[in-house]
């Protein structure tokens, strides 16, 4: 029978103050987890409102102006408040130091500061909703973002501040990975989750300042009319898009790399098979991080950028597909002859493989200059990035959450309900977004609140899917929260993993390990080491 240690990071020290001033990476990770889940809920509610309005053509329950604000808030919240911090700041904070065998991250105070800065930035974003929510789209394109009367400044100030929290996390992880690895853990013996977070952190540190500058220039343009982006003053509105996408394309890899990192980890543990092509997966993360800086112009094919630039960016874009493809093939090869267990985390991993592949391949379509001229600003693009961001990152996030949940709380959720929910999520997601691919390729434009009657059937399907998806998330929230209080004790190593986080107690001690762990094997040496999952019996009967 598994037991939960009396003294663990959740119970000791006690009191609200011990949480608000904590320097413990696990507590900060949990605080991040609650914060981002809150904004996932808020952003999700906006999404359901958008889908409700689009259920039928014509105006049903919000005006066209409100609709513009809804999709702007949905996008801005999901990107800046949810998905960018999601995996690194919550699961990364919780698990990374444990995996390295460290007591904490390199700069615990900076870590806490990043959480408070996140909250501070979030307050600006929330304030902007009350003060006449922005209606520019999350991309804040000029010249409209200079002209609109809505609260652009407070929302962009919020995003500006959130950038610092992201940089702090990235910087912290880089130093932690360089300096705090357990004795024996050389670079190529690190778990792949660590490699993924390393590549992510590089992008966070290099690209985010550019977003800061861009938003600052936009604010100055609005307040003081400096004339950098405003054509009326001799500025160049397309230059804004260069600035914006120089951050935001790499930012899509800030989102997906941690997701890929989780999948590399899970696919090996839940098939009890040594990962196929360890080094290639590690290097391809770095390759993605680098190439992601060379392709931003593929968002601007029809924005008036020069034709030469369009061709160069289209050419370069095809290269991003290569390292992503390498990863997918390696994951699939790992499964070959493995002892695959259909646990909840593994179901989400399979969902990721399918959905991310669709998302990535449609990205290649869009990267082809001539095809994109037809598809740009249609629902095809909307479906593409939801397959990558939601089908990829969010699904991987839930895979990781279910994988490390027993470590974080020491208790298991109900596996049977969790599996059913995973299937509902998969169905709901596809029902929402496959129709969007179809109608997008038929010309349904994005960011419109009304549409021609010919698209009604597809929009109805999509709305049904969205509400199914929403329902599945509510079920997930219920069984996860229930498990915190009533779940069965999970044991230290429920899945039989080899990395260091499974060698401490669940939940871990406030100091992680009682003595400095020594790393004597590779992270995925399932061929030479035999581990018994603590949940063996439960896993078989569920």
């Amino acid at each position: 029978m598994n037991i939960i240690p009396e003294k663990n990071y959740l119970t000791y020290p006690k009191g609200l103050k011990s949480w608000l001033f904590t320097l413990d990476h696990k507590r900060i990770g949990l605080m991040y987890l609650f914060a981002i889940m809150f904004f996932f809920l808020v952003g999700g509610i906006f999404a359901l409102m958008i889908r409700l309005e689009l259920f039928h053509p014509g105006q049903d329950f919000v005006s066209a102006d409100t609709y513009n604000q809804l999709f702007t808030l949905h996008g801005a919240i999901m990107i800046f408040l949810f998905i960018i911090p999601s995996i690194p700041a919550s699961l990364g904070n919780l698990i990374l130091p444990l995996m390295l065998g460290a007591k904490d991250v390199a700069f615990p105070r900076l870590n806490l500061a990043s959480w408070y800065i996140y909250v501070f930035g979030a307050m600006f974003a929330v304030y902007s909703m009350i003060a006449g929510a922005a209606d520019t789209g999350w991309t804040f394109y000029t010249p409209y973002s200079i002209e609109t009367n809505t609260a652009v400044i407070s929302l962009t100030t919020g995003a500006f501040i959130l950038g610092f929290s992201s940089i702090f996390t990235g910087l912290n992880f880089l130093v932690t990975i360089h300096k705090l690895r357990a004795p024996g853990m050389t670079w190529f013996k690190m778990p792949l989750f660590v490699w993924g977070l390393y590549a992510t952190s590089i992008i966070q540190v290099v690209a985010t300042p550019v977003l800061g500058i861009t938003l600052l220039l936009l604010i100055l343009e609005r307040v003081a009319g400096i004339g950098i982006f405003n054509p009326a003053l001799g500025g160049d509105p397309v230059l804004f898009q260069h600035f914006f996408w120089f951050y935001s394309h790499p930012a899509v890899y800030i989102m997906i790399l941690p997701g890929m990192a989780i999948i590399s980890e899970l696919i090996s543990v839940h098939s009890h098979k040594k990962i196929f092509g360890y080094k290639v997966i590690a290097y391809s993360s770095l390759a993605i991080a680098f190439i992601s800086f060379l392709v931003w112009g593929h968002h601007m094919f029809v924005s008036g950028q020069s034709e030469l630039a369009g061709m160069i960016f289209s050419f370069l874009t095809f290269f991003v597909g290569v390292p992503s493809g390498i990863k997918v093939f390696n994951w699939v090869a790992t499964l070959y002859k493995g002892a695959v267990r259909f646990t909840t985390p593994m179901l989400y991993t399979f969902a990721f493989l399918i959905l991310f592949t669709i998302g990535g391949l449609t990205g290649i379509f869009l990267g082809a200059l001539s095809v994109d001229i037809h598809l740009h600003d249609t629902y095809f693009v909307v479906a593409h990035f939801h397959y990558t961001m939601m089908g990829g990152t969010v699904i991987a996030f839930f895979a990781g959450l279910h994988h490390w949940w027993p470590k974080i709380w020491g208790r298991m959720y109900n596996e049977r309900i969790a599996k059913i929910t995973a299937v509902l999520v998969f169905i709901g997601f596809n029902l929402t977004f496959i129709p969007q691919f179809i109608m997008g390729s038929h010309g349904m434009p994005r960011r419109y609140f009304d549409y021609l009657p010919q698209y009604q059937g597809m929009h109805e399907l999509s709305t049904y899917g969205a509400y199914l998806l929403g329902t599945a998330f509510v079920i997930m929230a219920i069984y996860l929260i229930h498990s915190i209080f009533k779940g069965k004790p999970a044991g230290n190593n429920p899945w039989g993993g080899l990395t260091l986080e499974w060698q401490t107690t669940s939940p871990p001690d406030p100091h992680n390990f009682h003595e400095v762990p020594v790393w004597t094997h590779g992270p995925y040496d399932f061929d030479t080491i035999k581990v018994e999952p603590d949940l063996e019996k439960e896993l078989e009967t569920a």
Binding site: V206, L239, F246, W296, S306, E307, L308, A309
Partner: protein, 127 residues
């Protein structure tokens, strides 16, 4: 253990003074050259000297020359990313007026929609 190695590598005062002198001297040169008319090369010379001065500051005053080479790599990669941003953006901003002319051609020349109106039609219609 830290302080020992640092003491060994601490820069002699002379180096600081020499670099400071070089910076002042280069400033004088910059001003002097601005009085000579080199056409477009005035700009090139001025930026060249400024870059060299910035390099001196980074290497000696900011200790990049003595420090762990990792810092140098980080510094240079920052410049590299800036370079990527500026160069790729210039492929757009400098080339906006370079438009390829599109000449429309019928996809199927003998398709029905390209047929001449019957009144003026003399040769077509047989095939």
């Amino acid at each position: 253990m830290h302080t020992k190695t640092e003491h060994k590598h601490s820069t002699p005062l002379l180096v600081y003074l020499a670099v400071g002198g070089a910076l002042l001297f280069l400033t004088v040169i910059t001003v002097a050259v601005s009085y000579v008319d080199l056409g477009p090369f005035n700009l090139v010379v001025a930026i060249g000297i400024a870059t060299f001065k910035a390099m001196l500051v980074a290497l000696f005053f900011m200790h990049l020359y003595y420090d762990n080479k990792l810092f140098m790599a980080v510094f240079i990669s920052g410049l590299m990313f800036l370079g990527i941003f500026i160069i790729l953006t210039m492929f757009d901003t400098m080339k906006r007026d370079m438009i390829y002319e599109e000449v429309a051609k019928p996809i199927r020349p003998n398709a029905i929609i390209y047929e001449q109106p019957a009144a003026t039609d003399q040769t077509d219609g047989q095939h």
